[in-house]
């Protein structure tokens, strides 16, 4: 009995030492070395691909932002600021419930099922809003024109991109709200449309933050 206790203790001691040594290698040296090289070679990317506008950091090109009007009294969810290109719905985003000294955004999806009544309602409401918001005098959006990404929440809730179809759909509204020509806005969208990587990897996208920065400078100039 005593013997087996000693043996077990010896074995656990060896296990602990193995863990500590491997923690040093994979939990200290490895992340620090990768960080060192990453910071030296890919400084901007390692720090979040931040982009500046007018000398100020305005965000990460990889993280989607919302463009909303200030909350009115009694409102719980703000209205979208239709002057700017709008990203995808993000109904899965949460706020932190612990470590509340920070105001953290929790990434995530809705996780609602494909046959969920709640999700059906979200999609229908979003579609009605997209049609209403983007139909301006002389340009009426048809339900069949609205792409799926415009009415569904992304996986991360932070999707920085929209599909080119959704960007095109917003062009007339953006032109009207900002008093610029449709052709100018369409040109911006075309310039900010990225095709698939190497022609077949992923899907075509338009980065909303970059597009809005370009729009801002267009509006400021005109």
């Amino acid at each position: 009995m005593n013997n087996s206790v000693t043996n077990t203790a010896r074995l656990l001691w060896a296990g602990l030492r193995a863990l500590l040594v491997l923690t040093l290698v994979t939990g200290v040296i490895y992340p620090l070395a990768v960080t060192g090289v990453a910071q030296a070679l890919f400084n901007n990317k390692a720090n979040g691909s931040e982009i500046k506008s007018d000398g100020k950091v305005v965000g990460s090109s990889l993280i989607g932002q919302s463009y909303n009007l200030p909350l009115k009294k009694g409102q719980e969810t703000p209205d979208p600021d239709l002057k700017w290109f709008q990203g995808r719905p993000a109904n899965g985003l949460g706020v932190n419930s612990i470590n509340t000294q920070y105001k953290l955004i929790l990434s995530g999806a809705t996780n609602l099922s494909a046959d969920s009544k709640v999700l059906v309602q979200q999609v229908k409401d979003a579609k009605a809003a997209v049609i209403k918001d983007n139909s301006v005098p002389g340009y009426t959006v048809k339900a069949s024109q609205v792409p799926a990404d415009a009415v569904t929440s992304s996986g991360s809730g932070l999707d920085p991109d929209i599909s080119p179809a959704y960007a095109d759909l917003q062009v007339h509204r953006i032109a009207e709200k900002n008093g610029v020509s449709v052709a100018q806005v369409q040109k911006l969208v075309d310039e900010h449309t990225d095709g698939r990587t190497l022609g077949f990897i992923g899907e075509p996208t338009v980065n909303v933050l970059e597009l809005n920065i370009a729009l801002k400078s267009l509006v400021t100039k005109s």
Binding site: L12, W13, A14, G15, R17, A18, L19, V21, T23, V25, T26, G27, Y30, P31, T35, Q39, L41, K45, N47, G48, V58, G59, Q65, N68, L69, P70, P78, W84, I98, N99, Y102, L104, I105, L106, S107, G108, A109, T110, N111, L112, S113, A114, D115, S116, L119, V123, V146, P147, T152, S153, S154, G155, S156, G157, D159, P160, D161, F200, G202, T205
Partner: protein, 559 residues
């Protein structure tokens, strides 16, 4: 080019990349586990452990090593989370509560990476890098070590010696996982994954002095280094709650395909390692062909159902984009979802709960097959070899001959061990899921109602017992019941199978080889691959069919 064609081309590119890596990586891993030379750094490590890497271990000693190392791993990771509140470099985050710490510790040590916590609000830099990421490395190395021990059981005769656990563990980490992860992490950073130790940022955009209403907040972190091993080691625990859907973990369409490659490359290449070590590369090809057939078949089914987007909400939206990222799209998300559930990874680039009913069912069935096509690092190979033993046995019954595999007799003892192995996970999944549904409170955790609500619970225990870690994430798993029961499912689902695998390995290694005769079943031929695919689908398919019929099949067929 349409999205369907783009999806198919991405699949082809992925297969080509895996094919290119297959021979060099498989041969290299065979050398790693066969060589009797030690690198200098390894000698230092052995000195630190106080172990002699040249001692051969028989089955009991090897198993004791695996268990002791894992017990210590659970305790260490548990304590690290419990003292996070006083650890420097942790963003001032508080300690994690006991039930969740237990669940998370078990989860990462068992290579599951089930997460009942939100990464960005719970885990600071120290726990992420020195706790969670370390287990990503070592749990993967333990899995490969056990697989290699089983391969040695087939390759060796009249000995019972299975190698040295400490040497296998250290070599797996130092010679395979670290080098691959360093390269992978730098590729990911070059594409935009973050790698820093900064705090929480808040930035916003302004127009004429007024906020445009948009602002962003994000945590810094050593994300790329963790992302790399998370895929390479088929772990799957995300730095952020959104896992590989989060742009900082998976910034571009290319990184998405690259991450799928990373999580598949070791499990597939291990079949080459197996072939080399048992002295017949063709035997490795037969196992590879079995894995590849199931994987490609599942990807095709998934793409078909996701592009068809049945389900009221997806029909209303005009596409299955709920829970999917724009840059990745439906095609690549389908490949990722199948690959992550047919391995033990459980990372997600899109949220399975919002897939079509049948698509969700494919992810569940993928895990229920035992994650063997190609499976987790190591666990995929040993799981598949157990199925091969069973297929050989079935073939033996048909012709009335004592079954043999790789020159070893599959007798009563071997069959008992293999049968125990394949019974454990279904028992855990079905009993725990049934108990959760029967008790009054656990069903309150379900987000969705009806068939999908049941699928959430079935998914949770399927994922835990098979050490996958992905979820139908609407389920609120941060309750005492789910933290405890999924924790138990993970422990039992990881270590009981290992007990039987090592027992089988020891038993095989003691045998003397049986010569090949005209009556021997040729296990390197396509006929055997067909038999094996059939055995896998029938055995697991029938086990889980009633449960699947209540959940994903009911949902899928109703839409």
């Amino acid at each position: 080019m349409g999205p369907v064609l783009a999806g198919v081309l991405q699949l082809i590119a992925l297969i080509a990349a895996l094919a290119l890596a297959y021979v060099p990586l498989g041969n290299y891993m065979a050398r790693v586990y066969s060589s009797d030379k030690h690198l200098r750094v390894e000698k230092w490590i052995y000195k630190g452990i106080g172990a002699d890497p040249n001692t051969e271990m028989r089955r009991p000693a090897y198993l004791r090593g695996v268990l002791a190392f894992s017990v210590v791993g659970v305790l260490f990771l548990y304590l690290l989370q419990r003292i996070q509140g006083i650890l420097p470099g942790s963003l001032g985050f508080s300690s994690v509560n006991p039930a969740q710490s237990f669940n998370t510790a078990v989860s990462f040590v068992t290579n599951t990476n089930w997460q009942s916590y939100y990464g960005e609000q719970t885990m600071g830099h120290v726990v992420q890098t020195a706790g969670l990421a370390v287990q990503n490395f070592v749990s993967a190395a333990v899995g490969i070590a056990v697989a290699v021990a089983l391969v040695r059981g087939f390759a060796r005769s009249r000995t019972g010696e299975l190698g040295n656990f400490w040497a296998d563990l250290v070599r797996g980490v130092i010679r395979i996982l670290v080098p691959l992860s360093v390269v992978a992490a730098l590729v990911l950073v070059a594409c935009g994954a973050i790698q820093n130790f900064s705090g929480i940022h808040e930035v916003g955009q302004f127009f004429n002095g007024h906020s445009m209403g948009g602002h962003q907040q994000w945590n810094g972190g050593a994300v790329a280094s963790q992302e790399a091993i998370k895929e390479v080691g088929t772990n799957g625990g995300g730095y952020f709650n959104a896992n590989s859907a989060h742009p900082f973990e998976n910034p571009t369409p290319f990184t998405n395909l690259f991450e799928i490659f990373l999580l598949l490359v070791i499990p597939f290449a291990l079949t080459r390692t197996f072939g080399v070590m048992v002295g017949s590369i063709k035997q490795g090809y037969a196992i590879l062909a079995t894995m590849a057939t199931i994987w490609v078949g599942f990807v095709a089914l998934m793409m078909w159902t996701e592009f068809a987007h049945h389900g009221a909400a997806l029909q209303a939206a005009g596409g299955a984009m709920e829970g999917k990222e724009t840059r990745i799209g439906v095609g690549a998300s389908s490949i990722f979802a199948v690959s992550t559930t047919l391995t033990s990874t459980g990372a997600v680039d899109s949220f399975h709960s919002s897939f079509t009913g049948l698509g969700g069912g494919i992810t569940i069935l993928g895990m229920q097959l035992g994650e063997i096509a190609p499976g987790g690092t190591g666990s995929g190979l040993y799981g598949m070899l157990i199925m091969a033993v069973i297929a050989v046995f079935i073939a033996g019954l048909m012709v009335g001959r004592t079954p043999e595999y790789l020159g070893k007799k599959i007798g009563t003892r071997e069959m008992k061990l293999a049968a125990c192995y394949i019974l454990i996970t279904p028992a855990l999944v079905l009993i725990f899921a049934a108990a959760s549904m029967a008790l009054p409170t656990p069903p309150h955790s379900m987000l969705n109602s009806g068939a999908h609500g049941f699928s959430e619970v079935l998914y949770a225990f399927t994922s835990a017992a098979n050490n996958n870690g992905s979820a139908f994430a609407g389920l609120n798993a941060n309750t005492d019941w789910f933290n405890t029961m999924t924790g138990l499912a993970m422990v039992l689902g990881r270590f009981l199978p290992m007990v039987f695998v090592l027992a089988l390995a020891g038993s095989l290694a003691e045998q003397k080889p049986v010569p090949v005769t005209a009556g021997t079943l040729r296990t390197e031929k396509p006929l055997f691959t067909g038999l094996l695919v059939g055995a896998i689908l029938i055995i697991t398919g029938l086990t889980y069919f009633p449960a699947l019929a209540l959940g994903p099949l009911a949902e899928g067929l109703a839409s």
